[in-house]
Amino acid sequence: MSFVDHYSTLGLTSEASDSDIKSAYRLAARRFHPDVNKSPGANIIFGEFNAAYEILADPTKRQLYDQEYKKIDDLSPGIHMQVFFSRPRIKRLGQQQLLYVLAKLQPRLEKISDSHAPLNLCIVVDRSKSMQGSRLRHVKQAAHAIIDDLDDNDVISIVSFSDRAEVVISPQRMRDRRNMKARVSSLRADGSTAMYEGLDLGLSQVERYRSTQYVNHLILITDGRTYLDEDKCLGLADDARMRGVGISGMGIGQDWNDQFLDDLTSRTGGASAYISTGHTVTKFLHNHVKRLATAYAERSQLVVAPTKGVELKEITRIAPDPARLSFEKQPIALGTIDSAATTAVVFKFLIDTTAVEYGDFHLGRLQVSGDVLGRDQRVERIVEDLTIEITGDDVTDEPPPEIIDALSKLRLYQLQENAREAVDNGDFEEATRQLNYLATRLLEEGQEGLAQAALHEARMVKQTQALSDEGTKALKYGTRALINLETELFTNLLTEEASDD
């Protein structure tokens, strides 16, 4: 059952008078009406104001709505949103200025149920020729471990693909683990990488048990590139998202296309991971599946609507899986909201304060919604109006440590992105400069291994006018892991991998 709290949309309580409702709606119209605010999020937000107003401004409809409203004893959201501003007060300037907002989402402890939602998981394994040997062996070990890890009520299916795709284990509850493992063991490496067929067959396995009671998820494990069907794969991801199925990806080795895998997974709110040799695939997969099992809400979505005069420049999810989020199309898929880990998103806004009055300034509205898993299934929605203060005085407030921390990690990822972009644009001097900056910053942060990798890439660019596949991925996923404070885990994995074949 989903019940929308229209009062909270308008920022009011059920005690609100007719004139309160009218003025709240008028205020919203000034901020978000499509005539004044062209941002994609504003459109959605204003639609919700319209829906709320349509009911609450009509006495008959409001009366009916209030009857329903009173029946629900607890409307307080189970997800708590905490917002930090890089500067909660800013000085009015005759030029544009940046403002960062960090939103942290966490389910309230008392709302987390003990039993986790069952998984409906499909693992799609690349068994192309290049997987031969240790890679496929490690993937098999990882799959065996997952089969042992899963609860009796979870559903698993396994699909493999090379020239075409085949079902290794059809979707079923965890009854006959021994037989499942034997089937996994029988996988042989051969042929090419027909990823589309694999994904398509995998998603159809998930479909068999798909329901809102499950965490419906597909994990793609690959070491190669798929040719000519990347766009078709992306189409499958969009489709999966519509049906509430998350996709995450694990790339082994150097040859897979990380930008494609990022695009594919982020469309569903998932993320990609980099495993340099395959040795650590078990650990990665184990952690990933464990996280799926602690999901509080699935299919969560984010809408962000900046007020007129405020421009949204960038959205980055920094936890649990760091990823750049594209915001041209809203709502934005956020994926799973974990009950064991914080979900955190950083927004970068550009504000024009030239003609703004002193006092409170409405930056925009954030809205997060998701399907809460468990017995009392419902759609949950939280709205947060972002408000800062505009002053005429110099502001010397310290930015909150949460923001400093997040941005100091993000800048490393950013430098790595800059370098890559410079190489793509053929500006090798700029790329070398960015890589050197990155190395310097990494050294400051005590990340010697990654710093060395950055310096190595700087030399590579100078000599070959290209980045190495290996270095590109090591830097990207290395700096990404730093964002998520999984430093320890990642560096451990790197050292373990160093001793691997």
Binding site: I90, N436, Y437
Partner: protein, 166 residues
């Protein structure tokens, strides 16, 4: 606009880290304000205990104090001012030759680093030296100019010197 003290990039107001090089602009602000505080408390001590000026105008000289050496060296750097160790075999003669200060033992390269004059600023750049150039304790990435400020400490290999603008 906030000018990055590390790379000179002009950042939009409100940036916490330089958009071009990732340097912490926020820490920098802190450093500035604490310096100012010191000024008020003890007028005399001020400048050298915090960040010195980065302004290096036409005709400014630099005074180089080399550690364990009594006499400072005064030089007027040109647009590119090479620091290193004279080597007759290869015919290299740096503008500032550190041979007499034990450069060889302290790991100074023949072509170690250079000072470069920009518009009203002076920067230092490491030239792929074997043992590195350090500015205020931080190792510089090669070929990556860094702004110099009055009072900065420079270390070439193990040879430490301080630079003052005059």
């Amino acid at each position: 606009m906030i000018e990055c003290p590390y790379c000179g990039h002009r950042n939009i107001e409100g940036a916490l880290f330089c958009e071009a090089c990732g340097f912490s602009l926020w820490d920098d602000n802190q450093a500035h304000s604490s310096t100012r505080k010191l000024d008020e408390d003890s007028n005399e001590l001020s400048v050298k205990s915090g960040w010195g000026t980065a302004t290096f105008e036409e005709g400014t000289q630099i005074v180089v104090h080399i550690r364990d050496s009594v006499k400072p060296i005064v030089v007027t750097p040109g647009s590119e001012f090479l620091i290193g160790r004279k080597d007759d075999a290869s015919g290299i003669t740096p503008d500032l030759d550190l041979t007499e200060f034990g450069a060889l033992d302290k790991g100074v390269s023949r072509v170690h680093s250079a000072l470069r004059r920009g518009e009203d600023v002076l920067s230092i750049v490491d030239l792929d030296s074997a043992n590195g150039t350090f500015l205020n304790g931080q190792r510089l990435a090669s070929h990556q100019p860094r702004l110099l400020r009055d009072g900065d400490e420079i270390r070439l290999g193990k040879l430490v010197m301080h630079i003052y603008f005059k």
